[in-house]
């Protein structure tokens, strides 16, 4: 079993999702069966990802040649500490989303749980693969699942948002293939490790073509990650999606960020000769502008879901800043922030949905509406989420932002990063406190709220699960920072990757 450990996170949701389409689980009235199956699958994936982390920490990175076709020719799965960490994060988020959907949103369509599994399959695959074309295939798997999940439940808003989302991503996929064709034509390989060897040896005219291919890839990953000029689709899409789907999508932008980290550290990293760090001068200003755009969007948001979506953009910008610093320390800090921001923004989407359920027609819009029934519970949840996302102690946001700020070296960079991140945090606090005062304290006095439905225990349980990770991340901060430091060091250690892939003798 341990030999095939690297492919298990892909196989479990694939087989499980397919089985859920078959008789014992199929059918509208059999939703209870599907729920049990989905819960078992999620627990299996979490167990599998924890074993994967332990194995990777103990024995070093795992190289899995699918069908035993050795690199550089076969499709290679590569699980290092970074991939294992992200797989674990995804499975944990998946558990939260699945639990939340048990409250009833999974019954709006009969394929919710299988689709979530296929979505997770695509995300795990994107994290684990070490082959650019395979990455494209897993991108498409996660995208087609996300297209259908986004429209889950139906409605005008979802359809309108989905049309934009699908068309944009199809254009993105075309660009991805153009970039792959360019890079393959120049380097003759698709294996990320092998390509990093070949890129350094290119002739001058071929370097220009490789640069064009690499820049095209940045557009594709930037579109997935919602980097500044390509982020306009995100607020509307995430605000239109149903709550568990929006929470699951919190990891999707991170897939784009992960690909930027992986591709531009390994292929176009420090060892790439003339092409070394070629996108860094582009990403640097774009990252800062992304944070600013997200922050301004957060101030201008009319409802809590759009606010959360804009905070996703802020988190992407912050991660790109950590990328643009190009040091292992900054990368490690970025990974800690990645874990934190994924879980907290997901929780914020769930809280927005539950608040909406108790405010009648006003939903989560910042208008005066009827009083919320469970004020104490939601007040605590909202304050914790807001403090964590804005970066106030004692929660994980404070720790993560602090580590990013500490990792900045150089005076000029310090001026930019410190001022942008700190001012954006301050404005986030203002936006969230404005939102909180309207949602919780301004209510129409006369309205009787005894008929307001309470929220389901599944919803509360899922929100506690995702939000509870925030103080835990801060509590076990030292060991998690140590882990992300190792993961970042492993990512930046290209000779180690080449050695794991057995590519040394081929190169000579």
């Amino acid at each position: 079993m341990t030999v095939h450990l690297a492919i298990l996170p892909i196989l479990i949701p694939l087989v499980g999702g397919l089985l859920m389409l078959l008789p014992p689980f199929a059918g509208v009235e059999r939703y209870q069966y599907r729920r049990v199956a989905a819960l078992c699958l999620m627990l299996a994936q979490i167990a599998c990802s924890i074993i994967l982390i332990l194995m990777v920490v103990q024995n070093g990175a795992i190289m899995y040649a699918v069908g035993d076709w050795q690199p550089p020719f076969g499709i290679i799965l590569y699980a290092d500490q970074l991939s294992a960490m992200l797989v674990a994060l995804t499975s944990f988020l998946g558990l939260g989303v699945t639990l939340y959907s048990f409250a009833g949103s999974d019954r709006e369509g009969k394929y919710f749980h299988p689709l979530v599994q296929f979505q997770l399959l695509g995300i795990y695959g994107a994290f684990l693969t070490n082959d650019l074309f395979n990455l494209f295939v897993f991108f498409e798997v996660l995208l087609i699942a996300s297209y259908t999940l986004l429209i889950h439940g139906g409605g005008k808003q979802k359809t309108a948002a989905n049309v934009h989302y699908v068309i944009l991503n199809l254009v993105g996929s075309s660009l991805f293939l153009f970039a792959l064709g360019t890079l393959y034509g120049i380097t003759g390989t698709l294996n990320i490790a092998d390509m990093s060897l070949r890129v350094a040896q290119l002739s001058e005219s071929n370097q220009l073509i490789a640069q064009a291919g690499g820049s095209l890839l940045l557009i594709v990953f930037g579109l997935k990650a919602a980097m500044l000029p390509l982020h306009f689709w995100l607020p509307r899409t995430y605000a239109a999606a149903s709550a568990p789907v929006a929470a699951l999508f919190a990891i999707m932008t991170k897939v784009g960020v992960y690909c930027i980290f992986r591709v531009y550290t390994v292929i176009f990293g420090d060892q790439a000769g003339d092409l070394a760090n070629m996108i860094q001068p582009w990403v640097w200003p774009l990252a800062i502008l992304t944070v600013i755009a997200g922050t301004v969007g957060a101030l201008a948001s009319p409802n809590l879901r759009t606010l959360a979506a804009n905070l996703v953009i802020v988190s992407v910008g912050t991660l790109l800043i950590a990328f643009a610093l190009r040091t292992p320390e900054a990368t490690a800090a970025g990974f800690l922030y990645l874990i934190h921001s994924t879980l907290v923004t997901a929780a914020l989407f769930l809280i927005a949905d539950m608040l909406g359920q108790q405010r009648g027609k006003a939903l989560d819009y910042f208008v005066v509406a009827r009083k919320i029934k469970q004020q104490a519970l939601f007040g605590v949840l909202f304050v914790v989420a807001a403090m964590a996302v804005a970066g106030l102690p004692p929660f994980s946001g404070f720790l993560a932002k602090l580590v990013i700020l500490q990792s900045v070296t150089g005076v000029e960079q310090k001026i930019w990063v410190w001022s942008v991140i700190l001012i954006s945090s301050l404005i986030t606090i203002i936006a969230l406190s404005r939102a909180g005062t309207t949602l919780f304290w301004r209510s129409t006095p006369s309205r009787d709220n005894s008929e307001t439905p309470g929220v389901s225990k599944w919803q509360i349980c899922a929100t506690f699960l995702l939000l509870g990770a925030s103080p835990l991340l801060a509590l076990f901060g030292a060991s998690i920072i140590e882990y992300t430091n190792n993961a970042a060091a492993q990512l930046h250690d290209i000779p180690y990757l080449i050695e794991v892939m057995n590519l040394e003798e081929n190169a000579q």
Partner: protein, 121 residues
Amino acid sequence: METLYVICVGVLTFCGVFLCLRARTFSVVVGLTMLSYAVNLFLFSSGRLNLKNAAILDMSDSYADPLPQALTLTAIVIGFAMIAFVVILAMRARADLGNDFVDGREPPDSDKFIKPNKDKV
């Protein structure tokens, strides 16, 4: 041969990009199809164009690169499925939103650009 091929890919890409920028979903869908044709041709050419190289080992001194063919096949299958999905989605959007504009509504200033034909009205 290369020149002809390049012109084909270029014209297809141009048409695809142009049609993707139109306001109605039908032309956008056609544009996406054109783009995916262009991309398939482009991927195929990444193994270099040649007429005489063998595809099977031990048959010749020079071989054609087999990988771009596999990539193109995968891209065709995926592209086809995605286009099928976007067609269904466009029809659903037409039913849900009552028009086939990509934005879900007619642009408010569209009559500035398209003069309505007064004779027919």
